[in-house]
């Protein structure tokens, strides 16, 4: 924990220098699209009002969290079911691969055409965007369970379901966590797009609206808030991941 804090502080000097640079170059900037950091900071307190938090931020949070939970949980469950059976795996992998290959942005207008514009649609788009990468990683994680461990489960007379939940799923924790982490980025991206395309509320709609009404500093505030949210989620994942499945991340040499 101590080294974590120290590393975190050590990481701060580059951003501070970059922001100082930005401030010095653009302090008297007349370019309407790139205001100086001081201007953006001054604007922040006008943007972040109780009302704004209650509408934009809350709507985005609900969209993301609900979509992410629905998508990842169903992805893990369906993936576990498909991954445990070789025939099912061979039949379904091309289908999931194909749907995953469709850029997630292109799925948004299609889902909107089906479900209309609204909170439920936005949640559904995030859920679907998260579902397919989760399916892929879970299927792969489940399929590559160590044969010896499976033999052991057979010797202990574990049934199909017990093997799946007590042996195969725990063995795939590392893969699933990696997938969950990648899905955060996809989820935020799709959340923003669904808010941008549907005339709705939320951070994406706020950014588009600020741009079209020439409140460029507001737009930058929105961009920074999205970045900070993404960064916090990412750090949370890195932290839990090393706690939950340390063996996976040290054996793969990841991070």
């Amino acid at each position: 924990m101590k080294t974590y804090v120290r590393n975190f502080l050590w990481r701060l000097w580059v951003p501070i220098i970059l922001i100082a640079f930005w401030q010095i170059i653009l302090r008297n900037s007349t370019n309407p699209y790139f205001p100086a950091p001081s201007q953006i900071l001054a604007d922040t307190k006008y943007v972040i009002t109780a009302d704004w938090v209650k509408t934009s931020l809350r709507s985005s949070a609900i969209t993301f969290l609900a979509g992410y939970l629905i998508g990842s949980i169903s992805g893990i469950l369906i993936g576990a079911f498909i991954g445990a059976n070789q025939i099912l795996r061979e039949i379904f992998t091309p289908i999931t691969n194909f749907i995953r290959s469709i850029p997630s942005v292109a799925k948004v207008p299609v889902i909107m055409a089906m479900l209309g514009i609204g909170q439920a649609t936005r949640i559904a788009t995030v859920a679907i965007a998260v579902l397919f990468p989760m399916l892929m990683t879970t299927i792969r994680g489940i399929a590559t369970t160590d044969m010896n461990v499976l033999e052991m489960a057979k010797l202990l007379r574990f049934g199909q379901i017990r093997t799946l939940f007590l042996v195969r799923l725990p063995a795939a924790t590392g893969e699933i966590l990696t997938g969950l982490q990648a899905a955060v980025q996809i989820g935020i991206l799709v959340m923003v797009i669904s808010e941008m395309l549907g005339s709705g509320i939320g951070l994406g709609a706020f950014i588009i609206h600020s741009q079209s009404t020439f409140m460029i500093a507001d737009m930058w505030v929105g961009i920074f808030i999205l970045g900070i949210i993404g960064l916090i989620l990412n750090e949370l994942f890195l932290y839990t991941e090393r706690r939950v499945a340390p063996w996976y991340f040290s054996s793969k040499g990841l991070r």
């Binding site: 580059v14 699209y33 290959s101 997630s104 292109a106 207008p109 935020i188 741009q211 960064l231």
Partner: protein, 250 residues
């Protein structure tokens, strides 16, 4: 007569795909989620038009160009960052911050300052790929075997030849994974720019079909995008497995 198991699996896949599709159009409104045969009928009409091939080539060209530009930037930045000691730790915060901003939020800015042109899509794609790949380059260099680094030092490798003979081969597997993931993302970003900002290519063609409520056409484009995405992925996967055959792909 014996049936080839590969063939029977493929036909089962197609059958289940078909059933899932029809289930979709059964649950949703048929007007907004057309039957598969309607979409494939439209697809045969679509692929004989020149506008389709034009937008396809624009999209592929932009993805390729953005991918290459982004990869070059990522290599330069990544090598610079990774070879400076502790530079990695200090800059990774910035890189992670920029990476966690969803790329499309820069589109309003780019539209306002450049316009909905191909350049907008190109700039966005190069930007996304740079920040995606740079972490793979940094990680790859950071995980180079210390024994290899020592022996390179003993043999007097330095500067450019050190990069070519030491880091390039030892980072291939990690950077290869990054390249494969970035290639599909480059395509996705160009499409995203088209859908959100109306830059030329398949994305804006899809948006046009959607705004005129031509749903069979929308699904045709989505299908085409799926095919291209799969092709790009499997192309990179195959090349990667052939070039780096000594390890199992992650």
């Amino acid at each position: 007569m014996r049936i080839d198991p590969k063939f029977s699996k493929l036909s089962l896949t197609l059958l289940i795909g078909f059933v899932l599709w029809e289930l979709g159009s059964l649950i949703a409104n048929v007007r907004n989620f057309p039957h598969s045969w309607v979409v494939f009928g439209d697809l045969t009409k679509l692929i004989v038009t020149t506008t389709f091939w034009k937008s396809l080539f624009i999209t592929l060209g932009l993805s390729g160009a953005g991918f290459i530009i982004g990869a070059l930037f990522a290599c330069v930045i990544g090598i610079f960052v990774a070879l400076k000691k502790t530079g990695d730790l200090a800059t990774s915060g910035v890189i992670n911050f920029v990476r966690s901003i969803p790329s499309v939020v820069f589109l309003p800015l780019l539209i306002a300052s450049i316009g909905s042109t191909a350049r907008t899509a190109l700039i966005l794609t190069s930007f996304v790929i740079t920040f995606k790949l740079v972490t793979y380059v940094v990680r790859g260099i950071g995980e180079t075997d210390p024994i290899l680094i020592e022996s390179a030092r003993v043999m007097g490798l330095r500067g450019f030849s050190k990069i070519i003979y030491l880091y390039l081969p030892s980072t291939t597997s990690i950077v290869g994974t990054g390249l494969r993931l970035s290639a599909t993302q480059a395509f996705g970003t160009v499409v995203a720019a088209g859908i959100v900002a109306g830059t030329p290519g398949l994305g804006s063609a899809l948006l046009l079909a959607e705004s005129s409520a031509n749903y069979p056409r929308v699904f045709s484009y989505v299908f085409v995008m799926g095919v291209i995405g799969s092709l790009i992925y499997s192309l990179f996967n195959r090349t990667e497995n052939r070039l780096i055959h000594w390890r199992v792909s992650v």
